[in-house]
Symmetry: C2
Subunit: 119 residues, 2 copies
């Protein structure tokens, strides 16, 4: 039952598009990631994904529109919905999603990371 | 796929110890609550509960110690662990927990609220 200080946890890594697990609850992971630039189009067939912006600005492109999230703003991407996150600055995000979720969905890409460090 | 601005959502209610649902994901609810003063001892037999402090300061008393969370800090109370939240100031918290979770657990108390408004 550790008190998790988000700022302190973000200070423990520097790489982009690489989620780090900070907590488990009810078969979900709470993950932190630093993101910058463009990610890839993907979806998660069976998993809803929560994005909460802690710092910076996150754009989530959908096939129909783009959502922009500033610090203190969140959005849930429902299962099956194709999306592509991108940013023009380094952005810190908190994610909540099932433990089974792979961050690039079914897509295998240079950005796909198979390890999931715990911090 | 609404962008949820936490500050704006907290502006929509004033009552204490009354969680409001802002999003669903994977059979979980994301809830916001304003809390002040003392809550009751309770536990959730089958549900882990995430507390993230947005504003103010939250104390979570356990049988062995008390954790103190400031803004930007979070803690997961594992299922079955007795806890009692309390504050000395109005505090804004974000919760993630299964949709089945009752905020006072199995305890029926004057503070128990059976309605779960969506905002």
């Amino acid at each position: 039952m550790e008190v998790i200080n988000l700022e302190q946890k973000f200070g423990q890594f520097t790489d982009h598009w690489h989620p780090h697990v900070v907590a488990d609850l009810n078969d979900q992971h709470v993950k932190l990631a630093k993101v910058q630039g463009e990610f890839i189009w993907h979806n998660h067939a069976a998993e809803d994904e929560l994005f909460l912006v802690v710092k910076g600005q996150l754009h989530i492109e959908f096939r129909t529109h783009t959502a922009t999230l500033n610090p203190g703003e969140m959005l849930v991407v429902p299962r099956g919905v194709e999306h592509r996150p991108h940013t023009t600055q380094e952005t810190w995000i908190l994610l909540v999603e099932p433990q089974a979720t792979r961050h690039t969905g079914e897509v295998e890409h240079a950005l796909t990371r198979h390890d999931l460090p715990r911090i």
